[in-house]
């Protein structure tokens, strides 16, 4: 199984000694040799299942005969292929052909494995696979939306993991499946390091970290050199150890980790399952009631056993369904943890199938904090995000994809605040009251949210006082719902557009609907019945605010700016944050003033906040190569434009 064939130039597996050696060396590497077994394993299980199902009676007969006395032998003659084989003395031929089949399968698996390779260069991650239909997928690293390390239960036992590099687009993921877990972790580190754009400075730090990890790995005997068998045994041991000891969080700061007590997690899901219970209870009531009424009308009361049978026959499947749904939810969220790493937020969850997602900064398009009515007495919240999942449309609607969008399954206010600080690190301090006091906890007198006017109340009869938006320098906040409280935050730096729609009834009421566009996800950005002037203000301001925010935002190459921070000043958010804290916090935000007056004022006041961040962008530009130069032309046009626009041109 070692390399002596042309298509693999250097496929050296990392030994304990060379664990520090990076896999991101621009050479082609192979997956783990057991990969085809797990990928083709499903087909094998199905074939075995069909075979067993067909020979079921014979197997039962053998089994029964083993344990029954001689005189009570179960006489079986089913006329299945086994009888025919036995009668015609074809046992040798049959066994030989089975052996041949196994050899062919192993050969096929081996070829599949031979032809599956990956390569990580400075700018791309590439996977090529396939024998007849070859596929070669290459993804640019600066567009990486996240890296998911998934360990499905069977693969986890022998220490394998699937690495998924999330791309920006539909069906754009690059999957490296399967790798030994320590290798997968090393590859993940490499990809994130390269994607961050940080080269030499971060490399040394990463080396130090890798050194720590390699000593860990050596200690537990994870990576065994040499033969595939030794490797298999080693990874098997590591897998079992890992299963017992839980997910390794050694490389993150432990104090910032938000952990959910198991009791709360189970409780929250049980409360949610109350809804299911009510739903099934209604169906059950209707069914049993129907049967009872029917028997009464017929004048033929059902016997006790029959009635019991019908009741149980309906109730048991329903209870199984409820338990199943609840268990699936709980087991997915168990062992949840979220922690900051230098390369983004790392979220781990799952009891049997463990998923570790790494979300680099600036890959979150929308965040929503919600609370259902049943959770309110406990003060529990959940946080979901919109992000690029890189999956195809069919996969996106599946349950597992929705799991990827939950960042905090359940948490108290302190947890929510901590997670929000993690996933929106560049949110200015001035915006925090907007999120909690004014936003999530509902309308406060004089808050800057622009809500639905009283005359449009019938569009949201209960929540019209809450239904509205607030625009800050950092993001657009949508506050909705009173029974099901929701607050959505759309960071302006990644806002994709805004649209307004107004039908005849809207126009008669002088209101308009508004839709904020973000990538596909669970969070929708629709607001109905906004004051017409507020809606136009949104359309007018969002784009320029988005451009200004995007100019300040460098998260798509986050590492370059982090390294800058060590030497000089970070051009982006600290400046904006300080500015927001100093200048804007006193008078909360520009929004409250302009709505009444027509176009001229709304453009003017926000301009100063836009201007200050611009100059700091310019100085660091020369040292930083790729993203900075485009920033420079954007900034200057901003200040001159707004003052000039309304004055001479006001129509």
């Amino acid at each position: 199984m070692s390399e002596h064939q042309p298509p693999a130039p250097t496929g050296e597996r990392p030994s304990a000694a060379t664990a520090r050696e990076t896999l991101a060396d621009g050479e082609w590497h192979r997956m783990h040799p057991l990969t085809p077994l797990f990928k083709g394993g499903l087909a094998l299980i199905i074939i075995a299942g069909i075979a067993i199902a067909n020979l079921r009676d014979r197997l039962i007969a053998w089994f029964v005969d083993l344990f029954t006395p001689e005189e009570a032998q179960y006489d079986y003659s089913g006329g299945d292929p086994v009888d025919w084989v036995l009668q015609n003395n074809l046992i040798v031929i049959v066994l030989l052909s089975v052996l041949g089949l196994v050899v062919v399968l192993v050969l096929i698996f081996w070829f599949v494995w031979r032809f599956q390779q990956f390569r990580i260069t400075g700018d791309h991650v590439e996977v090529r696979k396939g024998i007849v239909f070859r596929s070669h997928r290459r993804a640019p690293l600066d567009r990486v939306q996240g890296v998911n390390l998934t360990r499905p239960f069977p693969a986890r036992i022998i220490g394998l993991a699937k690495l998924e590099v999330v791309g920006a687009g539909t069906d754009s993921n690059v999957e490296l499946e399967y790798l030994a877990t320590p290798r997968a972790e090393a590859v993940r580190t490499d990809i994130l390091r390269l994607a961050s754009g940080a080269r030499a400075a971060r490399l040394t730090a990463a080396d130090a970290a890798a050194g720590v990890r390699s000593s860990d790995a050596a200690g537990s005997g994870t990576v065994a050199p040499g033969s595939a068998r030794a490797q298999l045994v080693g990874s098997m041991n590591a897998g079992v150890n890992d299963l017992i000891s839980g997910v390794d969080l050694a490389d993150v700061e432990p104090e910032s980790v938000v952990k959910i007590p198991t009791g709360r997690l189970v409780g929250s899901q049980l409360i949610s399952s109350v809804l299911w219970l009510i739903f099934f209870g209604i169906i059950f009531g209707i069914a049993v009631g129907g049967v009872a009424i029917g028997s009464l009308i017929d004048g033929d009361p059902i016997g006790g056993f029959l009635g019991l049978g019908i009741t149980l026959g309906i109730a048991i499947p329903m209870i199984i369904a409820i338990v199943g749904i609840t268990w699936a939810q709980i087991s997915k969220s168990l062992r949840y943890s979220i922690a900051p790493t230098p390369d983004g937020v790392r979220i781990t969850y799952g009891l049997l199938t463990t998923v570790t997602e790494t979300l680099p900064p600036g890959r979150i398009f929308a965040v929503e904090v919600t609370q259902s009515l049943l959770w309110r007495p406990f003060g529990w919240w959940t946080i979901r995000i919109n992000r690029m999942s890189g999956k195809s449309a069919a996969q996106q609607s599946s349950g597992s994809a929705q799991q990827f969008s939950v960042v905090l399954p359940v948490g108290k206010r302190a947890d929510v605040e901590r997670v929000l600080a993690l996933i929106l690190p560049d949110a200015p301090v001035a915006d925090i009251p907007l999120v909690w006091e004014h936003g999530i906890l509902g309308p406060v007198e004089g808050d800057p949210y622009r809500t639905m006017p009283r005359r449009a109340w019938w569009r949201r009869p209960v929540s019209w006082k809450r239904h509205g938006f607030a625009l800050t320098e950092f993001g657009l906040l949508l506050r909705r719902g009173i029974v099901w409280r929701k607050l959505a935050i759309f960071p302006l730096a990644r806002l994709q557009g805004v649209s307004l729609s107004q039908g005849p009834i809207d126009r008669a009421q002088r209101v308009s609907g508004a839709q904020v566009h973000s990538v596909q996800g669970l969070i929708t950005g629709y607001l109905s019945g906004l004051e017409r002037d507020d809606a136009l203000y949104l359309l007018d301001r969002v784009s320029s605010a988005a451009v200004a925010a995007a100019a300040r935002d460098h998260t798509h190459r986050w590492g370059e700016y982090v390294t800058d921070a060590e030497g000089a000043q970070v051009p982006g958010y600290p400046v904006a944050g300080a500015d927001a804290a100093a200048g804007v916090s006193g008078a909360p935000l520009p929004p409250p003033a302009p709505p009444v007056v027509q176009p001229a004022p709304p453009v003017a006041p926000p301009a100063p906040p836009v201007a200050p961040p611009a100059p700091p962008v310019v100085p660091p530009a020369p040292p930083v190569a790729p993203p900075a130069p485009p920033v420079v032309p954007v900034a200057p046009p901003v200040p001159p434009a707004p003052p000039a626009a309304p004055a001479p041109n006001g129509e």
């Binding site: 567009r143 920006a168 600036g362 398009f365 690029m388 730096a493 990644r494 806002l495 994709q496 557009g497 805004v498 649209s499 307004l500 729609s501 107004q502 039908g503 005849p504 126009r507 008669a508 009421q509 002088r510 308009s512 839709q515 566009h517 973000s518 990538v519 596909q520 017409r532 809606a535 136009l536 359309l539 007018d540 969002v542 784009s543 320029s544 988005a546 451009v547 995007a550 100019a551 935002d553 998260t555 798509h556 176009p599 485009p630 032309p633 954007v634 046009p637 901003v638 001159p640 434009a641 000039a644 626009a645 309304p646 001479p648 041109n649 006001g650 129509e651």
Partner: protein
Amino acid sequence: MTQNPEIEPGIPAPLNSAEVTDRAALDQGTYPQLRTARSEARLELDGTWHQISPRYVVSQNVQNLIFIAVVLAVAAVLALVLHQTWAWIPAGVVVLITLITMVILPRQARAIGYMLREDDIVFRKGILWQRMIAVPYGRMQLVDITQGPLDRAFGISQLKMVTAAATTGVQIPGLTQTAAEALRDTLIEVAETRRTGL
């Protein structure tokens, strides 16, 4: 709301002159006046709306006529040859709906407009049901020009902008060939300079 072929001095040249390759081309042979709802409460923006070519209506109506002819032909074959007289009912409904769209189309076409602002492009359409969408230039991932056979005969084409959000699909129909190309070049140039992550 007036149409102005020159770059107005009042507009602060939001796009640099280098970025706007051929701005006059956008307004050649288009409708002179945008049509909107009369109510004061309508959605309205300051700035110059660029409009689409009247040839769009002709092209669409020719297509609609061809469609009606095909529907009628099928119905006639069914009714006269195969003696399925019920075929006239669905055919009649389809033809009626198509005729209504043909009547409304000139009004609709006058309400379609786009505005190149400093940071974004705004697209609007509709009179009774008004819709406006603003897409920042930096978010544009792709600009696509499509042209059907009839469109080619009339020298118009459709321009489509794609962003990372599936819902922001902006499609501007009925641009003259030169306008579509000028707009595409402008958008791509501006998007280049304002490119951000996603």
